[in-house]
Amino acid sequence: MKHRITLTIGPATFRLGSPWREPITWLKRLYADYPQQPDAIADFTVRLDPAGPLRRWLHPSVRIAGDHMLADAAPMALRHGLLAAEMGMNLQMALGWRRHLLIHASSVEKGGRVLVMTGESGSGKSTLAALLGERGWRFMGDEFALIDLDDGRILPFPRLVSLKNAAIDVMRAEVHDEGRFGPLLFATPKGDIRHLAPPRGAIGRMGEGAPPALLLFPRFGADPELRPVGQAEVFVRLTQASTNYVACGERGFDALHRFVTAVPAMAMDFPDGDRAVGLVEDLWSQLS
């Protein structure tokens, strides 16, 4: 591989290779504060392969490949190479990670306890975690929450935040360090995307887990409202939000059962970031 990088995010180490320079250059810049040891033994290999025999040079396009692959993944334009690399790493985690129960969720920590937020793409969980991460909370991840199979603690997986569409401006107003932002990826399959490096403090503490204290199902675009969610529904929704619940077997069931019975859950509708942060802070102060 002509261009490569090995980087560690939380408990996972990735080795990425590309025949093109640009995606790796962006990764090196945006992951500058993460451990990057070229000779580290990686958990996963990710490749950005040319999508066809001529696609390295002519209309360059990327096929995401690596240890774990999707057979029918659509090729992506090289100008979206950074997104392809991020998707490649996510794919390895989703399909290959077995050391924790993986929940498709964002998470933030304050006072030694974790707030977990799960929901469909577009629910606002990612943006909300990024916002809270700039406002006194420790950002732990916007994509996967890792639940320890033995003690139930949440482990951070603070990779780049993937800001989509309107969320880009929300975070541009919040973060004034231009160096933390990646390039604007215009018109990707998921809309406009810009990546944001987490705060340096969050990266420095990415080995530190903490017990979960609250689960939220955020929903962007409605008047503020909070509703409790029953344990049975939470359980089923989390099995759907987990990429490896079945693969983790009995240990996965035990970990999820422990989580669902120990952690209160609420559905939260919100019309904008500021009011969401207000709702979260109110809920959090009532918890103790």
């Binding site: 033994i41 025999p53 240890d67």
Partner: protein
């Protein structure tokens, strides 16, 4: 090529204790690409390896255990469904190896459930499986008809709840292939395991693995097939019985080549190799340190060969023309 590194370590696990980080990455990527990571992990169990490698290998072993559990459960479900037909259900390949507790099954990746049933029972088997929740996955009428007319198995089916595929074989090679194995003899000599599931006899297990690797297909995943063959050969007590069996199935030349290849890749490395054997070895070890096929042209040549093995030229041309019109491209 890292395929070479992979076979060296599988053959002699102690070599893993002196690898650099870079070589570990190449070894792991090649093993995953060849679906031999579980086998490698079992081979290296207990050796002194770096902690990061030990974690990856532990994952590989745990995953293989899960594979085994799923495979045995799937075989159990198929037996349950086929029970009313009152005929023997013979598990093949990975499922058979783990069910029978063979070395070849240790750490093995198992994708589909492969079973063998008598040819005249196919219609009943199909009806019963459809009723028990399996569904067709080849919607194309040409593919479906092709399977039924020429293949050694029914078109593949997937169970709609468990999402696992079943291949129902009635023999071990496509009907268009030159060797004509004696499927009836294979079924008659199959062995019952405790619990009722059956597996092919030790000799027929070798013959099937050899036919699968060398008389069918393009040698993709060939390193795993050859590992199977190496392990299955070790289980053979009477070599002359094996050769008599291979002769009956028309697979003698394939068997001798498989023995040479197994020796050259995983064994003593003393067998004399022909030029053609060396081409096979080059193809088998073509995976590079990033898990890619490092010899694409050779791969294409074997792809062409696989089609020539499978059907006579005129039939092949008609088949390729049909596939091309439907938009299929080999690369």
């Amino acid at each position: 090529m890292s395929g070479r590194l992979l076979v060296d370590v599988l053959r002699d696990p102690a070599r893993a204790t002196v690898l650099s980080g870079g070589l570990w990455n190449a070894l792991i990527a090649a093993a995953r690409a060849e679906r031999l990571i579980g086998t490698l992990a079992v081979r290296l169990d207990g050796l002194d390896v770096p902690p990061a490698a030990a974690r990856v290998l532990a994952d590989g072993r745990a995953e293989a255990e899960r594979e085994k559990r799923h495979a045995l459960w799937e075989a159990d479900r198929a037996m349950q469904a086929l029970g009313p037909l009152g005929m023997p259900v013979i598990a093949m390949k990975g499922t058979a190896y783990v069910a029978a507790g063979l070395t070849a099954g240790e750490g093995r990746f198992i994708g589909d459930l492969d079973i063998m049933v008598p040819h005249d029972a196919l219609d009943d088997v199909e009806t019963v499986l459809l009723a028990a929740g399996w569904e067709w996955v080849k919607p194309d009428p040409y593919d479906d008809a092709y399977y039924r007319q020429w293949m050694h198995e029914l078109p593949p089916m997937i169970h709609r709840e468990r999402d696992r595929m079943i291949d129902v074989h009635h023999t071990i090679l496509p009907l268009t292939a030159r060797p004509k194995p004696d499927a009836t003899g294979m079924i008659a000599d199959s062995v019952a395991l405790p619990g009722g599931l059956r597996v092919l006899s030790a000799e027929d297990r070798v013959c099937h693995a050899v036919a699968h690797m060398l008389a069918d297909g393009d040698l993709g995943g060939g390193l795993r097939n050859l590992w199977d063959i190496k392990c299955l050969l070790n289980d053979i007590e009477d070599c002359s019985a094996l050769f008599r069996r291979a002769d009956r199935h028309g697979l003698t030349a394939h068997l001798t080549r498989a023995e040479r290849l197994a020796d050259a890749v995983y064994g003593t490395r003393t067998a004399r190799l022909s030029m053609v054997d060396r081409v096979f070895v080059a193809r088998l070890t073509a995976t590079d340190g990033w898990g890619r096929d490092g010899r694409k042209l050779l791969g294409l040549a074997f792809y062409v060969r696989s089609h020539l093995l499978r059907m006579p030229l005129t039939m092949l041309l008609r088949h390729l023309w049909t596939k091309w019109r439907k938009g299929h491209r080999p690369v």
